[in-house]
């Protein structure tokens, strides 16, 4: 972890301590990250995400369809694609093009359950291909950076409150460089959620409202053999520590479909490229097993 400076880590841990009491409120179906828990065995989740970003002269829309499947209570996998529409660069680029294929495999290795609460930990390995040479490696959902990521997730739920901490290393891919000599990026996500309504529950049909507040960040060091483009980008003002705050509202319909609305606002950045992102996700859970077949 030599690419991390002591002051970066100090800031990170101070921020965790500072925000912990504020952040402890939600459900664990976080918008920007995966919880340590998996969905039930045999459940297929189809998810469609869209994001919109405007930098004045450049408007970008991304569409991110994704499928997730729970092999059992401990192992869950995902595959997705990101398509992008940008208005700026040239007329021929003004169409949707696939910019990224991504996926993850998550293993829940620790589980403590009690009445109305649980604590879980999981390891997650994700990959992403990307046509974007420049990216902010903040989005496990979108997979906008090319590379491999290894993450550790812990999730705690207590009644209406949920809290999740996620930290990991992203080995950001550059052509011709071995995996573990890639640009290493330390990523972290702190997520919290609060069930606004209903409370108490009366039926599965009631719409659940969840409020989320998430903080995503990364701390990076560019290797000496970094490409000129990245070097120039950095000199133009990209910081080594970049983070975003993401408030969001989630609606759960009939206990099996979701609508997530959120935005991301740069919190620590000198980089003018990063303007707020607005995101909408819809997801539906398909229970694949049939009557009489063992779950």
């Amino acid at each position: 972890m030599s690419f991390l400076r002591v002051k970066d880590l100090q800031f990170f841990f101070f921020a965790v301590l500072l925000l912990n009491p504020i952040l402890i409120f939600s459900q664990e179906l976080f918008i920007s990250t995966e919880p340590a828990s998996n969905r039930p065995k045999g459940v297929l989740i189809t998810k469609l995400g869209t994001s919109y970003q405007s930098t004045g002269s450049d408007n970008t829309i991304e569409i991110m369809p994704k499928c997730m499947y729970s092999f059992n209570a401990k192992i869950m996998g995902s595959l997705g694609v990101t398509t992008k529409y940008t208005q700026l660069i040239s007329p021929e680029s003004q169409r949707f093009i696939a910019t990224s294929f991504n996926g993850f495999l998550k293993y829940r290795f620790l589980n403590f359950d009690s009445k109305h609460k649980h604590f879980r930990m999981a390891a997650l390995v994700s990959f992403s291909t990307s046509k974007n040479e420049l990216c902010t490696p903040l989005s496990p959902e979108g997979g906008i950076c090319k590379g491999l990521s290894i993450r550790l997730i812990q999730t705690y739920l207590h009644k209406r409150f949920a809290f999740s901490g996620d930290c990991g290393l992203l080995f950001q891919n550059q052509t011709g460089v071995a995996l573990f000599e890639q640009q290493k990026v330390f990523t972290y996500i702190l997520s919290s959620g609060y069930l606004i309504r209903p409370y108490p529950y009366r039926s599965y049909k009631e719409t659940n409202w969840n409020f989320y507040l998430e903080w995503l960040g990364n701390i990076s060091r560019y290797p000496s053999n970094t490409s000129d483009v990245l070097e120039n980008y950095r000199k133009e003002g990209a910081t080594d520590h970049y983070s975003e705050i993401s408030p969001g509202l989630q609606f759960i319909f009939r206990s099996r479909s979701r609508l997530d609305l959120s935005c991301r606002v740069p919190a620590i950045s000198k980089n003018s490229v990063n303007t707020p992102d607005f995101m909408i996700y819809v997801a539906y859970e398909h229970y694949l097993y049939s009557k009489g077949k063992q779950p």
């Binding site: 969905r39 209570a73 359950d113 009445k115 739920l157 529950y201 599965y204 659940n208 759960i252």
Partner: protein, 168 residues
């Protein structure tokens, strides 16, 4: 002695939202011997009615909860039994399984009784650890029939054994 088990209640740990409760319900409803299911969404206690003349496989029931990603806090089953032969350590055949009575209430007389399961994954790990210390039986550790606690033929050695406390 044969018994009928028409229903069971399961307390489920780790549930905090209706989406999770729904997942548990879907997982249990798919079991062939389940007739109906009702979940108390606030207490996280499920009441399950079994089909008439069907053998309720409690191993599959517990597995269904665990496959949904949660844990069983308690598992109680109600049954009708004639008690004239009931005694501590007695084994009752139920479907392909055996039910081993660890404790029973002597006031129980020819009526509906409750079986409180005390095996691994049917109670919290903390409670199981306590029982494991006090019940010094091989069949409790392995949940398999052993000559020590039940006169078994070779074929019965692999029979699943559930351990219960019988209450009125």
């Amino acid at each position: 002695m044969a018994i009928q088990i028409p229903e069971a209640t399961i307390g489920i740990d780790g549930l905090t939202c209706s989406m999770c409760s729904f997942a548990v319900e879907q997982s249990i409803r798919k079991l062939e011997f389940v007739d109906s299911f009702h979940m108390d969404l606030n207490e996280n206690v499920a009441t399950i009615i079994f089909k008439n003349n069907h053998f309720a496989d409690f191993e599959l029931l517990v597995l269904a909860v665990m496959n949904a990603g949660f844990s069983v806090r308690f598992l109680h089953a109600s049954c009708i039994m004639e008690n004239d032969a009931v005694s501590d350590g007695m084994h009752i055949k139920y479907g392909t399984n055996l039910i081993h009575i660890i404790e029973w209430d002597p006031s129980v007389q020819n009526k509906k009784v409750a079986l409180s399961f005390i095996d691994k994954n049917t109670i919290s790990p903390k409670k199981y650890k306590k029982y494991l210390e006090s019940i010094n039986k091989e069949c409790y550790k392995t949940m398999r029939s052993t000559p020590e606690c039940h006169s078994t033929s070779k074929n019965e050695m692999q029979v699943k054994v559930f351990h219960v406390i019988l209450k009125s």
